[in-house]
């Protein structure tokens, strides 16, 4: 039976994986190595700022292992959603790291860069044509949102990746991509049944996350054929079970049975999961329903201000006995000081107190009202400029430090401050601003392929 072997070194490039596990995977003569490098999961900062998700050394370590192995065994590599958000600069960043590795290790690659950023001109045109739709639970897109965006990417499916492979690339570094498409691209290109190809990709893109107990990030392999696929981890300390693989489509998905991709929907409703051996699982019955309309998901971030914050412990039982009173006073006094010094009204900035040990994680949804013997108090200011955020946070923290406490008479110091300086000017604050799809004329029109040799 025709078969194709796909390898995921790990679920997130830079998170590190066992070199031994990866080398075991290479011994199975894989057809392609693919690795996801980005996500919206960690928030909008990578998409807004272009700063890579991990420090450079982490990417270099993982890429070095991957590129040495790929080169030695003649296996093409696809890296997707480069360096956190898949912006053009993040693609170029990874190409730069790869170039450095190639020089140090005496390797050579034909690189295809697949860029995913979208221009405001293009988006404005598509919006005026009625070709941009909102996804649940968002409102329709406004021109204003397009104008305010710092960066916008489209999430590519398999077609631009197939184009890159068709051009002879041995290393594809792609901007924002469907994680699953990174793995489905080669099987689809070679005419494999799309159901098993997409489903295998869905599981592989998370690396060893679908094992019974993932001990650390590590390598996963799937052998895909026309009826289904076999999948398992390379590290002998980990194993997949039919339940762990079936349960994997729960992870980070709204529905475990149907998952939308640019070109259609992966449907696992009729899947069967059986042991292939004591550590691998056989999956059959995966289906892929082509969409009536090809859609490309947009992700965007806009700059909304700058943040300064501090964090301290509060251990005084008297403050904790009426925390709302204490924080209410600090808030009012901070507003007054900021107005006096900077001439700025409170509705022009945000001042938030977050109380860890009370409701730091769940905020207004928290039902538990009892405070223990201490809280962690985060004082956070977000304002139009870094200077103003710093002013607000500095007053807030200083007033909290010495605010009179109802039960005590005399000079008090209310915070256990764990660092000097106590106020951190944290930099720009971005917010996700699009949850929409574009209906393009073709699957590749929004993505540009360019080639370079390293």
């Amino acid at each position: 039976m025709k078969q194709i072997t796909l390898v995921a070194p790990t679920g997130n490039l830079g998170s590190s994986f066992s070199e031994e596990s990866f080398l075991s995977a290479l011994k199975r003569k894989p057809d392609i190595i693919a690795c996801d490098s980005g996500s919206t999961d960690g928030g909008p900062y990578r998409l807004g700022s272009g700063v890579p998700y991990f420090p450079r050394a982490l990417y270099k370590r993982d890429l070095r292992v991957i590129l040495k192995g790929a080169h030695a065994h003649g296996v093409p590599v696809i890296i997707g959603s480069a360096a956190g958000a898949g912006l053009n600069c993040q693609v170029d960043f990874l190409v730069d790291v790869a170039r450095e590795i190639a020089a140090e290790e005496n390797l050579a690659f034909d690189v295809a860069c697949v860029y995913a950023e979208q221009s405001k001109e293009y988006l404005t045109k598509r919006l005026s044509e009625g070709r941009i739709r909102a996804l649940h639970p968002s409102e329709e897109l406004s021109q204003d949102t397009i104008d305010r965006a710092a960066n916008v990417v489209g999430m590519m499916g398999v077609e631009p990746l197939i184009e890159a492979l068709d051009r002879g690339a041995t290393l594809v570094i792609a901007g924002r991509s469907s994680d699953t498409a990174l793995f489905a691209a080669l099987p689809i290109k070679r005419g494999f049944n799309p159901g098993p190809a997409w489903h295998a990709g869905k599981i592989l893109e998370c690396g060893a996350a679908s094992t019974v107990q993932r001990l650390f990030p590590d390598t996963m392999v799937a052998d895909v054929d026309s009826e289904g696929f076999n999948i398992g981890p390379m590290n002998p300390a980990m194993r997949c079970s039919p339940l762990s693989v079936a349960a994997h489509t729960l992870y980070e998905n709204g529905d475990p049975f149907v998952m939308r991709e640019p070109s259609g929907t992966l449907d696992t409703t009729d899947c069967a999961y059986e042991p292939a051996d004591d550590r691998w699982v056989r999956v059959s019955g995966s289906a892929f329903h082509p969409a009536d309309q090809y859609t490309v998901k947009l992700e965007a971030a806009e700059l909304i201000g700058y943040r300064s914050f501090s964090i301290s412990g509060v251990r005084d039982p008297m403050i904790l006995s009426d925390l709302n009173l204490f924080l209410g006073e600090v808030r009012e006094r901070t507003y007054a000081k900021v107005l006096d010094t900077a001439g700025v009204e409170p509705d022009c900035y945000r001042l938030d107190f977050r109380c860890y040990g009370l409701d730091g994680a769940m905020g207004p949804l928290e039902q538990e009202k009892t405070i223990g013997h201490e809280i962690g108090l985060m004082i956070e200011a977000v304002a139009e400029t870094q200077d103003l955020a710093s002013i607000v946070a500095s007053y807030g923290r200083y007033l909290a430090l010495h605010n009179p406490v109802k039960h005590w008479t005399g000079m008090v110091t209310n915070l256990a401050v764990p660092m000097s300086p106590p106020v951190i000017n944290h930099g720009p604050v971005y917010q996700f601003s699009m949850n929409h799809v574009v209906i393009p004329d073709s699957p590749t029109e929004m993505f540009r392929v360019s080639e370079v040799t390293i």
């Binding site: 928030g43 899947c271 769940m362 917010q431 996700f432």
Partner: protein, 104 residues
């Protein structure tokens, strides 16, 4: 009566993208999963009550192949927006651990 946290293999929450929050209640034992399923103690309404979401905005799935219940809601605040205390949405499931399941 037993608490869900004693019966489940894993209870978790996470983003399904920046705008949706998804909860998984997962079991290892098919008999326990079936008992909980038949009791109807886990349903869209109880999720709505805990998280302040109207039932029609909740996507609730009984996932037999994974021995799991899933509920997906619009995130109360978009991931990473100012005022969001949980960018990954990963620490919102605490109240589910205490839910009582009858008949065990």
């Amino acid at each position: 009566m037993a608490k869900l946290g004693e019966l489940a293999q894993l209870i978790r929450s996470k983003n399904a993208g920046p705008f949706l929050l998804t909860f998984d209640i997962m079991f290892a034992d098919p008999k326990i999963y079936q008992h909980v399923k038949q009791s109807k103690a886990i349903n869209a309404q109880m999720i709505g009550d805990i998280y302040g979401v109207p039932v029609e905005k909740i996507h609730f799935v009984e996932y037999d192949p994974g021995l799991a219940f899933k509920a997906t809601i619009p995130r109360p605040i978009t991931s990473g927006h100012v005022g969001d205390g949980d960018i990954y949405g990963a620490q919102q499931f605490g109240p589910l651990v205490q839910v009582e399941i009858p008949g065990i």
